[in-house]
Structure formats: structure tokens, C-alpha cells
Amino acid sequence: MEHLYLPPSLRYFVPLRVEQGTPGAHACFEYDLVAAKRPETVVDLGSGDGTSFSVFCQSMRDHEVDGLAYAIDTWANDEGEGEATRTALNNFLHSNFRGFAYLLKHSSEDALSHFADRSVDLLRIDARRVDRPLLQVLDAWSPKLKAESVVLCAGLSENSDVLATWKGRMPHGLVLRGGGGLGASVHEVASMMGGDFLPLASSNDDADRERWVTFYEHAALHHALRFEVMGHGGALYRKRA
């Protein structure tokens, strides 16, 4: 059945951090996911410039989620710009999300020891930035995940092996298009409801999944249009140096 769905991303979300010239392709999905899941612990592996991580933090702040968020990256492979990227992100987080957002300069492997088993509610992996194959990262981090936690994987559509790995390991859930592709799936679905984020809880078949994917394409288009049409005046969006 059709559900009247107008999530926070389309009601009042104005992305604070716009690094790539346009809001992230999956920012709306990420914002709504955090609003619905209200995660206590967020881990972002391969944060890079922090576009996604900043969305998680903004949603936690906007929705008064009393959690902790960790951006993890070596910032080593950015043509000498890694340290500047890390510093800029650190300053941004300090200015906007003081008290609950941290940077950890680690590889995904080294970071493991800092997290207890079954403690993570939201894990994002950027397959383009982590130093190990996706399957190894998923296997290594799986014990750290709570039941009904959500796993996201960015960069899926840029590498067919990565996409095949993800689909083999996470056959349920959605694969959003655009922005390099984003896989989203619920880990260990325990209840009949399958979690509290509607797009992941109600995606029963391919037709349903396609409708959620196209809905979030609409949301991304809406924000891209707002940025292009209204952003140049600086009233709604501000691009940070």
C-alpha cells in the first residue's frame, strides 16, 4: 500500500556541510536514517572530507539524539591533502557538533579494538577509502554490530566486485543510485518489524525497493535544485572554504 511519507530531509533539512559543490547524493537518506534510528554509537569508516559523517552529526543534533559519532580514516591517500582535509573536518565538527563527534586517525583494522562487541548502531563503510577488501571489513566489524543496527556501504556502483560482495553478504535492503551508489541494510533483523526506519523496514520485494530508491532520488534532486537555484545567494546553503 502507498504510505504518505514526507521525512525530515524534505521538511526542514538544510545541509550544513556542502563540500562537493552540491549536497551529498545520499544526504537525505542518511539524515532520515539517523532521525529514525536514533543511534547511540555511529562509526564511519573512510570518512574522507566528512560529507556523510557531517550529515549523521547534523541529524543527531537536529533530533537531539544523545549518542556518539566517530569518523575514522587514515587521511593518508589524498595526494598530500589528507592532513588539511582532516583538520578542516575537525574544525567543522568542533564548531558545530562539539561534544559528541570525534575523529580517529586509524585504519579500519586498527580501530576495531576501540569498540566493544555489539555496541554499534550505525556503521558506514566507504568502500573507496578503506584499506581492506569490503568482505574483510564486513567480517571484522560484524561482531561489533548490535542486532537491528544499520550498515551502509558507499561506493558500491563504482566497482562490480564490491557490489557483488555487498549483495552476496547483504541480500536485503536497498542500493541507492547516484553518488557512487549506497548500500543500506539491517544487520540481524530480530523483530517482525525489521527496524524503525520505514524504507528499510518495509522493503519486501524488488518493486517496493525500487519505489524507495526512486523516492530518495527525488529527495536528492530536490536538494540539488535548492542548492543550485537558491544557494548562490547564500541564504540557505553556505559552502565552507
Binding site: 504518505l4 517482525m192 523516492f215 530536490h222
Partner: protein, 252 residues
Amino acid sequence: MAASMRPYQPRSLGFLPKRMAFSTWVDHLAFGYDLVGALEPEVLVELGTQTGVSYFCFCQSVVEHGLAARCFAVDTWRGDAHTASYDETVWDEVRAHNDANYAHFSTLRRMLFEEALAEFEQESIDLLHIDGYHTYEAVRGDFERWYPKVRPGGIVLFHDIAARLLDFGAWRFWSELTATHETFWFKHGFGLGVLRKPGSVRRAPLLDFLFSKDERTVSDLRAFYVHAAEHLELLRKKRRLMTARAQKGSGH
């Protein structure tokens, strides 16, 4: 897993109106487009068309949803005390747009509303849009004369029910109607009232949302079409930007 559930994503989210002019109806275009798609009217009548922004939105929806509707626009195209009088160019533009796009199912009737009444049988109209003179007495008169022409289960739209200016009284008549009829209203775009005549009703997601008794659904629907109106505005602005850039690029 929960029962199958999909987000409502109506076709208006990807639609651009062919006919645009200055009109406070612009904020209701997405809804008007989707309402026609959901209701699938056989007969659609608009009272008070002026530049045709709402009427041609309905017509465009008829075409793009592949419907077999007959549409009628009734207006003197001479203006009234609220629109002020306007010259013949409005009528010329409307007639030209109709001839070019919708002549095979759309008829413009240039006359007073009362004069057009006899052309419609009782209970024959599926969708009636009342947007004529906006005093309390005028809106009430239009409704009382035309309501018998509406088919059971049919829908009547009232524009400007949130407008508080001059001697507008649509808001006051609307508040009376809500006590006695099945209604929904949008608050944006100077207000648009949606009234359903009792009788056999069509089922469609939009119609179910409109006449839901659930307060959350009602407020979500209002918010959804505010969003849809903003989205359409952004698409139009983007189109204007691209046109301006193209003209600049070609040296105009």
C-alpha cells in the same frame, strides 16, 4: 518484515506545466495535476478561468494520464471587481493555448456561469472548480447553483478560502461548508478547499489521504503538497536559469 509499504510518489513530482501566467493558483498545480490523475473525471468544469493556469493544468493532466475526460472552462474573460477588467489578450492567449493543445476534449464557454448551467445535466460533473467572484454571496451562489450538477462522489474545489483581503468571503462560506460536508483544505497558496459529495466514491491513494479521519495523515498531506509546490517552483526556476544561460551563451 512489515507489510508491503511504498512511499506515495505522485506524477506531479516530475511535471512541468505547459501554461504559466501570474496566478496565486501556482502553488496548487501539483495537487491539481494529481487530483485529476486520481479521480479520472469524465466531466470537469471550471468556473472562473482567467489566464487558464489551473484549467490547463487539469487538461495537461488529462492528456498525460491518458484519460477520456471532457473539460469545460466557463468565464466571461472580461474580469470582475476582484481581478479588475483586462483586455482581449488574455482571452486570445487562452483560446490559442486551448486550440493548440486540448481542442479535442476541452471547450471554452465565454459566458456568465448562470448562462452555462443549462448546458450540464444534473449529477454529471465529476470535478468542479469554483474560482469566480470571491464575495461570500457570490461563492455561495455558485456552489448552490452548481452543486446539483455534481455527480455523487464527485469533488468540488474552492480557491482562495484562506485569502483575507478586500471583500473576499470564500473563507466564511467554506467554514460553513466544513460543518456539513466531507472536506479537506490546503492552507498554502491562499487556501484550496476540497469537498466530496456523498455517494459512491472512487478509491485511490490520494483520495483516501484527502478524506482520512486521521489527523496525522491530514497534516502530512498538507505538508506533502507544500513540498510538491516548492519542488515545482524549483524545477521552473532551474528551467529559467538554463534558458537565461543559453541566451547569454548565444549572445542574446
